[in-house]
Symmetry: C2
């Protein structure tokens, strides 16, 4: 299995604090040593750092956890391989362009019968069940709406219905963003929290670090964080149920 992390925010925000916690689980406090990746959006553009090395040893992960990259939408993943070997091609998150936007996705779980999932416009490059499911979802989206981009909330709701079908195949916790909206879907384990004023101090569970968000934010900031297991031990995280999904728009649950 793997661990997921995402952020949706109404102002460009760095994810150093949360990533510092996640990174420890990539081979130190957790067994997810088969690579990691993180995608940051800046407007419609994005940049993805990936490394098939364990995140807790990775120099690139060290940079990402120390160097504040400000973004309104982030998806990160640390991997414990089950389907597909350890390689760059199998390292999440995955990105495809549709309708002039980059769509980025990461998955935690394991699917049976995934080789029968149809895809058309988007083809897998690697050999994971995860990327196969992503290509299926994106191909379905294109097949349904064609060349003209629909209202994106409508598009994400279409994806939600397809996800309800996918969960018949196994464990499917998923994150998907187009840089503006971010969708979280849970079948076994996913938690989220929305931080807004008045901000307070948060303490990481995996490493002895705390942060006073009141010093890092302005009163109008709204920042949601989604993760497999809560990253802090002094805040209340919403635990998602099987089949539950949550869409975020620039930090706000919608």
């Amino acid at each position: 299995m793997c661990e997921l992390l995402a952020m949706s925010a109404n102002v460009p925000t760095d994810i150093c604090f949360s990533f510092k916690g996640l990174r420890e689980r990539g081979g130190r406090t957790g067994p997810h040593k088969d690579g990691w990746g993180i995608a940051f959006y800046e407007g419609k553009g994005n940049c993805t750092f990936k490394d098939p090395q364990p995140s807790y040893q990775s120099r690139i992960a060290e940079l990402v956890s120390d160097h504040p990259i400000k973004s309104k939408s982030v998806i990160a993943h640390i991997r414990q391989a089950n389907r597909g070997n350890v390689s760059m091609a199998n390292t999440h998150p995955f990105t495809r362009e549709l309708w002039g936007r980059y769509w980025t996705y990461a998955h935690n779980g394991q699917l049976t019968g995934y080789r029968d999932l149809p895809y058309s416009r988007f083809k897998p490059v690697g050999t994971t069940d995860s990327e196969r499911a992503f290509c299926y979802l994106m191909s379905e989206l294109y097949q349904h709406y064609g060349d003209d981009m629909p209202n994106r909330k409508t598009a994400f709701n279409f994806i939600r219905r397809r996800l309800d079908g996918l969960r018949e195949l196994g464990v499917f916790n998923m994150l998907l963003t187009d840089g503006e909206y971010l969708l979280a879907y849970c079948t076994s384990k996913l938690h989220w929290i929305t931080r807004r004023a008045p901000f307070s101090i948060a303490r990481l569970s995996d490493v002895d670090v705390d942060i006073d968000f009141a010093e890092e934010t302005t009163p109008n900031d709204v920042v949601s964080v989604i993760t497999t297991e809560p990253l802090t031990n002094n805040e209340h995280w919403h635990k998602m149920a099987c089949g539950e999904s949550q869409l975020f728009h620039y930090g706000e649950p919608v």
Copy 2:
């Protein structure tokens, strides 16, 4: 204008030496301060580091020039914006998936009338003439061959013919790779060199660094480097002519 750098090799090779030279031109020895990016392939997978900041000041660029990431195919770009603002969406290189492979591209030059270039399957996310031309080329490729991947040498030769049309629109120096083949196309300025045994010492032009490739390589290594201006001042670089293209396959000019 911008500067380009690429590497094609028969064994996974790092590009630290060449990138160290290029990076200086991103705001210090050259005016290319409007962002930079570099894509590395590992097998069919790839990873692209991008930053709209000047490369000579960028912590991410510092990491890339110090930390040996081994790859058989690399494309890098430092940007001096002309068409399109300075942003992540306009930062090269650009990547799209076709036929289950990632295609990565960077361009140096300036095109007139580029807004008339047709595209279909692949749409630009940013606003540069460069990405528009990339989407045109990739859409043409798909439109010509359909869903079944042709022999890739044939596909690159098809692209070459379309490039001969594109150069009517202005300056078009370009790099394109699918991780195995790498195509360089020149209309104004592009140089390349193939290094093979017996290897010797190379000296960077932009910074006081030299390297003894004999110590870094095995006798069977073949490594081609393509760049706007020669990066070393004690080797012979092949200067490409207007309309000249060169395809490389794992380091070998073919």
